[in-house]
Symmetry: C3
Subunit: 185 residues, 3 copies
């Protein structure tokens, strides 16, 4: 092998290393971390102060703070501090709390806008994950985003696929959250 | 060309490839995707229930839920579900909905804090983009951020330059949103 | 040095460059930018309209808009436009404004959910930083996230360690914010 062909090989490999590096950075579609969690929301209705985990704190002019408003709850702002569990049992030992708010934001169907944090404090995970996104509630599974994290989830980002796992009247619901992190540090 | 000079060349090129790779990762100032969209907000004033796309749902003690408050609307929280169009015509076929909230947050000028999602459902784009940022309304163009996305915008991030394209009384406004995505997956 | 050993060296260095590049991308734990700032919040209580920098704009059914609610203020939504200073002196010349909202979100201790922006306008920094996260107020230092930025902070991300630096009655508090940006463009 002569020096000339070696130089050629050198160029070839550098080009390959460039393109590989690029793909490694931009097309990583396999989650680097994944977990499934549930959270449980019991909304305050004026009579369940002891059990309620959330409360209506803003409402449109036609609404009030103990009953979700007409027009598909449009405009209701709900603050929550919901237990997170590993399975779908409300009475399981919580591994953390889901804290933040959701806002009903359509007048002709059920949709919500979500901004909240998972504060995880278990043997498996110590840290927080921050969620944001639109939730078209009537769709079976829908994607929101994990925009950031702290602790074990330092600088992480990803997608959370949420599913309404239970819905009882307008007082209790349970969400299944399938978290897939695609950027891990 | 001797082996020694080849080794030197090798080092030189690796150093160059390192610095190039670094710049490729960190200094990518050209958008990988770009689009211009408009959205239209008609605020509920107690008399336009049929047409309104947004409603005041929180207000300071001196405010109410059908008129934007004194002191530059400081403290007013507005929830919206606004049509998104490709041009500046309110009656154009929507390509999606802008859903979320804005909050007026200064007492001596007009500024807002924005947290919302573009839910896009057109032939060109299927997916969501999540926006967050401060909006100094009286400035002609101002930058907010695209913090995340789903679907066609999986894991995307970028900047949105917004401009008030129309403003009629305190009932209607239209925003032009120039979205530039700098991180595409 | 023969061509064969040179090829071997070539492979070795490429492998090394790969693994280094990977670590450079994923394990960058040193901040690329860091700064410490303070912001000051004076909440409206019905009598301090001239000085107040924030106001309660949403509250649960058992609350009101001039006094933080019972049950650890659960459900209170506060909108703010707070001065940012370089030191802990409320009267220092502001370098920007902290604008957004916080929500008290636990019934049995003090925690808040934060969504706000630092709008910086000083000789050192021109741009915005967007913050999001859960704030367990009673913990001495706690981490929230910097999810995005504009201007000098174009596309930046990081962590902010916050500390309650002063707390006077339920009218004034000051937060120390130690911002560490780990992704800089």
């Amino acid at each position: 092998m002569g020096a000339r062909s070696l130089v050629f090989l050198l160029f070839l490999m550098l080009i390959l290393s460039f393109s590989s590096a690029y793909q490694g950075k931009k097309k990583q579609y396999k989650p680097c971390k994944q977990m499934v969690l549930y959270f449980h929301d019991v909304i305050y209705n004026g009579q369940n102060a002891a059990n309620a985990t959330s409360a209506i704190v803003g409402a449109p002019q036609w609404g009030n703070l103990t009953i979700l408003a007409d027009k598909f709850h449009f405009g209701d702002v709900v603050v929550f501090d919901d237990p997170i569990t590993l399975d779908n049992n409300f009475h399981s030992k919580p591994v953390g709390r889901a804290q933040g708010m959701y806002i009903y934001d359509t007048k002709n169907t059920f949709t919500a806008w979500l901004g909240f944090t998972f504060v995880l404090n278990s043997t498996d995970f110590q840290g927080t994950l921050n969620f944001m996104g639109a939730d078209p509630i009537m769709v079976k599974t829908r994607d929101i985003t994990v925009v950031s994290g702290t602790g074990d989830f330092f600088m992480h980002r990803g997608i959370a696929t949420i599913m309404t796992d239970a819905f009882e009247g307008e007082v209790y619901f349970r969400l299944r959250v399938d978290i897939k992190l695609y950027e891990c540090w």
